[in-house]
Amino acid sequence: MSRQELITDNQVASTVQKKTEEKLSVGKSYTQGQLIWRRFRRHRLGVFGGLVISVLAIISVFAPFFAPYDYANPEYRQAFMSPQKIHFVDTDGKFHWRPFVYGLTATVDELTWQRVYVENPEQIYPIRFFIRSWDYELFGLVRSNLHFVGVDYPGTLYLFGTDHLGRDLLSRIIYGGRVSIFIALVGAVISAVIGSFMGGISGYFSGKVDSIIQRLVELLQLFPQLPLMMALSAAIPSDWPPMGVFIGVVVVMTLVQWTYLAREVRGKVLSYRDADFVLAAKTAGAKDMYIIATHIIPNCLSHIIVVLTLTIPNLILAESSLSFLGLGIQPPMVSWGVLLRNASNLQTIGQYPWIMTPGVVILGTILALNFLGDGLRDAVDPYGN
């Protein structure tokens, strides 16, 4: 444990050294924020990850606008419809500037007696942007029926196919992303607050307080993270309303996750505890909690943000695993994990493989967040070259 402290100590020493070197060599003075931004921009994958995450965030916030269909509205005659292809060239070889989809007709496969959907080249439905269709309410304030994309009735636009009740998978993924991302974000922020507080106290005071908090952290980390979350969320009563379950899952994730952040913050705080500016504050008669809040935590803030960025993908993973196993978010609320629950049956995914798409979306999101976190870490901490 104390070797870890040593490592972070060295790290900070060299951070400070490198920062001053960089400042000197540039000649002009930059704020730390500008320095970090300059370094971050060079990390291409990090910037790419940041862009992807921004797009996802915007789509999630304005989910009803971007979703072509109402996620909860079943269309039983269009169950398990395969994803529709977007075309530019029709069967006559004519090129259309406006992309279009064909209407689908349901037929029966003569060999397997399975319902399959075949494109009907007679029916051409051009894809329209900013189309008016079903009504929604945004944040409970704005009523509208304007949507980003869609096709005219009776055409359908199921780009990712439909599920067993004929609900549009793309819309469900968009709405599910809202829950999955939000739950991870809230969980990560609360964990960061608790973690900073506990880590701050633990690192600053050392001694008895430190060892009690550290034992607590160690105890919680002895259990594998996900199984512990699974066991804790089994305690969420099954008759709670969706919002209650949502809060319950956040609490469960926070209970387990804060320990990892506390560890990180403690290491950082420990390296600042004996810094000159802390000594100066002490000499000036500042109270301990004041020093932690105004001198030490701000110095650790960039580090905390990096850890926070890397905690979010972890919690998205946790939420989707919990919900996939039926221990997290419960329908009718949708999250990516809930959507994948439909894919847990081998027979279903064999016949309708597109049901697995939410998994690809989870993978992409986590990948982008990891890129972003990696980029931020490199920018904040020049130690890793």
Partner: protein
């Protein structure tokens, strides 16, 4: 060294007590217990009146001590484990927990340990290669692979592999054996069949661990290669091979050994999730069913046993580290 081992052993004891206590808290956490479920079943399925059902469940509660105060129950539970190896009663399986738990725990540990060995082995080798060939095509390739490895959800990899094997390769998937071998005695054919199933969980669970080790090893080695003693070694005219393997790798590998104890919970977690999807005869599916059915003695015992195994694992890792690095012994 002996002194250090004894100190570590003494330190493990309060940890064991705390772990058992926390597990027992988890066991008692759900608002409804199995007896409530049972009472409902007795009424709806066996057609008993509410009074009769309550009487039966109350008798069960008295028999298993469920009506006594929390601390007394905890004490009885721990006493049972320590003196008789009795972990309580699985109401769902209608058998003592200890009867259903051991074999499954053994499989979990076999899979997790195999993954551990493989992920450290491959991770270190690829990490060394990546660090010494920084920004080459293969290094970039491995970096992307590592990012994918840590980003993909375990259960999703398991799903995709199952889908691929079942519908494209068209082999039997799930479990550790094909149906015809499950009850057969060990033979060469059964062993081959076993290997055909065994690689799937190993791959699923080992993926993230390997990726992690790869990244850590690469980063550490790159840091070490920048240090002055490596420069000194090069300046002395030592061959590059000696510089890397004798001077740099030895120091870069240390965090990996240090984190070996910490990596185990991660691998067991992966195993639990993957085995639920793949339906392996390990603790995963049973833990999952126990939680869904609120069979909390079984679930809590699983959790505690994993933690206990990890305490022992950490103990071993610490001793290994102390043996390798004398500084640790005198902390």
């Amino acid at each position: 060294m002996m002194n250090f081992i004894i100190r570590r052993l003494l330190y493990a004891v309060p940890m064991l007590v705390l772990v058992s206590f926390l597990s027992f808290v988890i066991i008692n956490l759900p608002p409804g217990d199995y007896l409530t479920t049972m009472r409902q079943q007795l009424q709806s399925q066996a057609g008993l009146t509410p009074e009769e059902a309550r009487e039966i469940t109350e008798r069960m509660a008295a028999r298993y001590g469920l009506d006594r105060p929390f601390m007394v129950q905890y004490w009885e539970w721990v006493k049972g484990i320590v003196t008789r190896g009795d972990f309580g009663y699985s109401f769902q399986h209608n058998r003592p927990v200890s009867e259903v738990i051991w074999q499954r725990l053994a499989w979990t540990l076999i899979i997790a340990t195999t993954c551990h060995v493989i992920s450290v082995g491959i991770g270190v080798v690829v990490g060394i290669f990546s660090a010494t060939h920084k920004y080459s095509f293969l290094d970039n390739f491995f970096t992307v692979l590592a990012f994918l490895g840590v980003s993909v959800p375990n259960f999703f990899v398991a799903l995709v592999i199952m889908y691929y094997l079942a519908f494209h390769v068209k082999t039997h998937v799930g479990g550790l054996f094909s149906p015809q071998y499950v009850l057969a005695p060990w033979s060469w054919a059964k062993f081959v069949d076993f290997l055909k199933h065994f690689w799937v969980p190993i791959f699923v669970v080992g993926l993230a661990g390997t990726a992690q080790n790869m990244r850590v090893m690469r980063g550490n080695l790159l840091d070490v290669l920048n240090s002055q003693y490596v420069e000194t070694a090069r300046a002395k005219g030592l061959p590059e091979r000696t510089v890397i393997y004798k001077h740099a790798v030895r120091n870069a590998i240390q965090p990996i050994i240090m984190y070996m104890g910490m990596a185990m919970p991660f691998l067991i977690q992966g195993e639990v999730i993957a085995s639920i999807v793949l339906n392996l005869p390990t603790i995963g599916p049973m833990f999952h069913h126990a939680l869904i059915n609120q069979d909390m003695y079984l679930a809590g015992s699983f959790l505690m046993m994993i933690a206990v195994v990890l305490i022992l694992g950490n103990l071993l890792a610490d001793i290994l580290l102390a043996w390798m690095d004398p500084r640790v012994r005198y902390e």
